[in-house]
Amino acid sequence: MLPPPFDYVAPRSLDEVLDLLAEHGDEAKVLAGGQSLIPVLKLRMGAPAWLVDINRVGGLGELAEDGGWLRVGALVRHRDAERSALLRERHPTMAAAAPQVSDPLVRNLGTVCGSLAHADPAGDWGAVMLAVGGELVTRSREGSRTIAARDFFDGPFTTTMRPDELLVEARVPPRPRTGGAYLKLERKVGDFATAAVAVRVTMEDGRIGDAGIGLTAVGPNNLEATEAEAVLAGAEPSDELFREAAELAARAASPSADTRGSAEYKRNVVRVFTERGLRQSAAMAGGI
């Protein structure tokens, strides 16, 4: 299968990228890892007139801390996240998710930010960003915007970014005493999730300071289980609490039946994974 014809440009600077996006608007698509975009083109689900390849732009590949915040640049591959000691030490939800994204070959090219911008409701990183309270930083000729993960997703394959904006980095706040998990059910390696749950538990004085729960493939976009998060905040960790939060997370899910399972089944997976993820995360954070 061939993609539909397009004009290809591979600028060397961010300014050139932003000029092209300003000029062509939604007729242009940004090519980073291409592991979602190229299949979309081949399947003729999209036919942009322009592909703007950002792989030759310097300075977008950084995975590092800056003032305690983690910065994940636009060209950080899933593979970089999977191999990052920094993530393993300080960002357990992200470290748990990275090796579960697609398969090793896709992880070698696909990018974290590209996956977020693609906004597939079955994407893994969206749920993770919701759970860790991440922010997405965009750039355009108009300037820079910082969008909280919970304000970023706006329906299937839709974000609140404008067509002239480039997602330049994802940012994650520092959180000591934090445990995390990403539990994913897939039919085989590389398949999209049947359902998955991203969990973060941050402890404070023996109680849960706050917690984050993001859901994958059980709604029109990645969902945040806000009611479950609310009962966890400030509470003393216990099996009963985790069961209650898991019920609320399952209720927050709004899955559709498909070849991967019935809606009821997926909702149940969310319940089981949330409870399990909370228990694992709390233990990791020293809470139980």
């Binding site: 014809p5 290809y8 070959l105 090219l109």
Partner: protein, 189 residues
């Protein structure tokens, strides 16, 4: 568009349409048909090539993106006209049945062994988890990669019969001869 792509060590200057996929550049322009097309939807990994040493799916990469970069295909595996240790191990351990996924498996294995010269079975399975074998011949493929690793670490041992892999052959608790084992090859010591 004009691109320069180094394939198996040789630089090629080509004029390509931006939408041309790398796999088609390899197969149709350079006639290197060892790189196969399977699912064509980024699922099976049979089109795997090494891009600057890193395994990728060449059906999900544009030829123009490879401008100035280096690609290795199965045709580049031979060493001085002889099978490389990975190729020899796939032959010796019967790491193929129909052969369709074999080029991809060997390239993914090459990248793994460059990173990790002594992988455990789990590490091999993990590294190859993006590559499907439609014959389901995974057991021998994994065995072949480990035999190749062992041969590359210790070339002297490699020329002797592979007693270590053979010893691992029998499934635990089974006294039955393994079905489909290559006849007359590698009799257990």
């Amino acid at each position: 568009m004009e691109v320069t792509v180094t394939v198996n060590g040789a630089a090629h200057q080509l004029d390509v349409e931006p939408r041309l996929l790398l796999v088609h550049l390899l197969r149709e322009r350079l006639r290197l048909t060892g790189t196969h097309v399977g699912c064509d939807t980024t699922s099976c990994g049979v089109c795997t090539v090494l891009l600057d040493g890193v395994p990728i799916k060449s059906c999900t990469y544009l030829a123009v993106q490879a401008d100035g970069r280096s690609v290795e295909t199965v045709e580049g595996l031979l060493e001085g006209g002889q099978p490389s240790p990975i190729q020899a191990a796939f032959k010796q351990e019967h790491g193929l049945q129909c052969g369709f996924c074999t080029p991809a498996m060997m390239l993914a294995a090459k990248a793994l062994l460059a990173d990790n010269p002594d992988p455990t079975e789990d590490e091999v399975r993990w590294a190859l988890s993006g590559n499907l074998c439609r014959c389901t011949g995974y057991v021998n493929i994994v065995r072949a990669v480990r035999a190749a690793a062992s041969a590359m670490r210790d070339p002297e041992e490699a020329s002797a019969p592979a007693t270590e892999p053979s010893a691992e052959r029998e499934p635990e608790g089974s006294g039955e001869p393994r079905r489909g084992a290559p006849v007359g090859q590698e009799v257990s010591a």
